[in-house]
């Protein structure tokens, strides 16, 4: 469960302050997966980083219960001069997970072959994304924060990701952000729209779709 109390975040730009989150208060309940829609630049990724704690809000408070993942999606957090395996070991270490288990799972999931022992800098973007995804699935989180999962891999790999998530849905919560209705529909129980610094929650996908299309 994650609670937000009056969370505010703004970026200083040349054109003045750009408010991304405006006194946002809401609760993400346990085992209710939420899909957050927003146009490009609405602040989806910022919201995820703030939920995870990688970025600090300017004001307000965030209360996390249970283990929250880093924002999963395009490969971030990899040191490009280290191998895929070494990166996995590092992540396992900071999360206090069993190193060998994490490495084995990530290797099996990512399907990068012998590249697993080569520096991440030699990976294609698809391989990086697959490794990032495999690594995040290897560590048990109570809440998974997911950024635009559709971009990862081919159709077969996406099916695998969906399956992995379905397995975890029993005990974990997924908070996914995307600008595509289709992605949200596949993964979420509830929906939310991020607009002008506020989150609007919906239970009905058709209603979100209507408003989102009207706005976009």
């Amino acid at each position: 469960m994650i609670e937000l109390h009056d969370v505010t975040k703004a970026y200083r730009t040349k054109a003045g302050e750009h408010v991304v989150l405006d006194r946002l208060s809401c609760t993400f309940e346990d085992r209710v997966s939420v899909g957050i829609l927003g146009v490009n630049g609405a602040g989806k990724s910022t919201l995820l980083r703030i939920l995870g704690g990688a970025e600090q809000p300017d004001a307000g408070q965030i209360v996390r219960h249970g283990r929250v993942s880093w924002p999963i999606g395009f490969a971030g957090g990899f040191n490009s001069s280290l191998s895929g395996e070494e990166n996995c070991r590092f992540a396992a270490r900071i999360y206090g997970a069993d190193i060998d288990e994490v490495v084995e799972f990530a290797r099996g999931f990512a399907e990068v072959g012998h590249y697993f022992h080569m520096p991440v800098r030699t990976y294609s973007s698809g391989m990086r994304a697959r490794l990032a995804f495999g690594l995040s699935m290897a560590i048990d989180f109570d809440t998974y924060l997911v950024d635009e999962v559709t971009a990862v891999g081919d159709a077969r790999f996406q099916a695998k990701c969906k399956e992995a998530f379905a397995e975890r849905r029993e005990r974990s919560t997924v908070i996914i952000v995307s600008h595509q209705l289709r992605t949200i529909r596949q993964y979420a129980d509830r929906y939310a729209l991020l607009r002008r610094g506020k989150l609007h929650f919906f239970d009905d996908i058709d209603e979100v779709a209507r408003i989102y299309k009207a706005a976009a």
Partner: protein, 260 residues
């Protein structure tokens, strides 16, 4: 208090993992690996040894030349090199901040820890090796040596934290820090002992906290040398002041660290 009890193991884990990773990226690239960390200060000492020999200069109070130089170079490097590396801790490890567990200060501590460990190994290998080779194995006070080296390292981390936060604010800090730190090279007692400097100049030299660290280490190594002017409390004062400034600045720039 409960949060602290819960947070401390996590932070220890994170700092340790970062230090290991740092070891890998720093020393894992070269064939010589960790040996390189040893060769650099050894080369430093060798150069000065040659220079001392060339101008026929003698060391003060009959201190052996190699230990005399090593007890100067190593504490000095511990402060200056650590400050230098810590100042780039955030810049070089931005990708790691992607993990919410990893906060900028963890990067700072990890680099500090790695420097301290590396130079402790360097110290033991160079001076221990020398002592074994010359059969002159007389160490006055091991704990005092450790005190001096630790003070030097913590001083470097505190100074580096200030530089690191300033670097996040404005990158030109990296360009001016070299010339700014240059005077420390000449005033830290690398080629002299405080006792051989006339009192009226010594006073000013003793403003430099690194000189105190060097003196403390020398006092600990040489039975015949007493560092009457050195004061751990003075170094500690610098550490507290710099840490205060560094942590204040860190809070100030915390929200400004860009992840990518």
């Amino acid at each position: 208090m409960r949060d602290l009890a819960k947070g401390l193991p996590t932070q220890t884990r994170v700092v340790f993992a970062l230090a290991l990773r740092e070891t890998r990226t720093r020393f894992g690239q070269h064939q010589l690996g960790y040996l390189w960390g040893l060769l650099e200060p050894a080369f430093f000492i060798g150069t000065f040894w040659a220079m001392f020999a060339a101008v026929d200069r003698t060391t003060p109070m009959g201190m052996d030349i190699v230990p005399f130089l090593a007890t100067g170079v190593i504490p000095y490097s511990l402060t200056v090199k650590t400050a230098d590396r810590v100042s780039l801790a955030v810049d070089a490890n931005r990708a790691m901040l992607f993990y919410p567990h990893v906060q900028p200060l963890d990067l700072v501590f990890a680099r500090g820890l790695l420097e301290l460990t590396t130079y402790l190994v360097v110290f033991v290998v160079i001076l221990g090796g020398y002592a074994l080779a010359t059969h002159a194995f007389v160490i006055d006070d091991v704990l005092q040596i450790f005190l001096g080296l630790s003070l030097a390292a913590v001083l470097g981390v505190a100074f580096g934290t200030v530089l690191c936060a300033l670097t996040v604010m404005n990158n030109t800090v990296q360009r001016i820090k070299g010339p700014l730190m240059r005077p420390l090279f000449w005033t830290s007692g690398l080629f002299f002992a405080a006792a051989m400097i006339p009192l009226k100049y010594r006073e000013y030299l003793l403003w430099n906290p690194i000189l105190h660290c060097v003196e403390i280490v020398r006092d600990g190594w040489f039975p015949q040398y007493r560092a009457v002017d050195a004061s751990p409390g003075y170094v500690l004062m610098w550490i507290v002041l710099l840490a205060f400034a560094g942590l204040t600045l860190e809070r100030r720039v915390r929200t400004r660290v860009q992840l990518t």
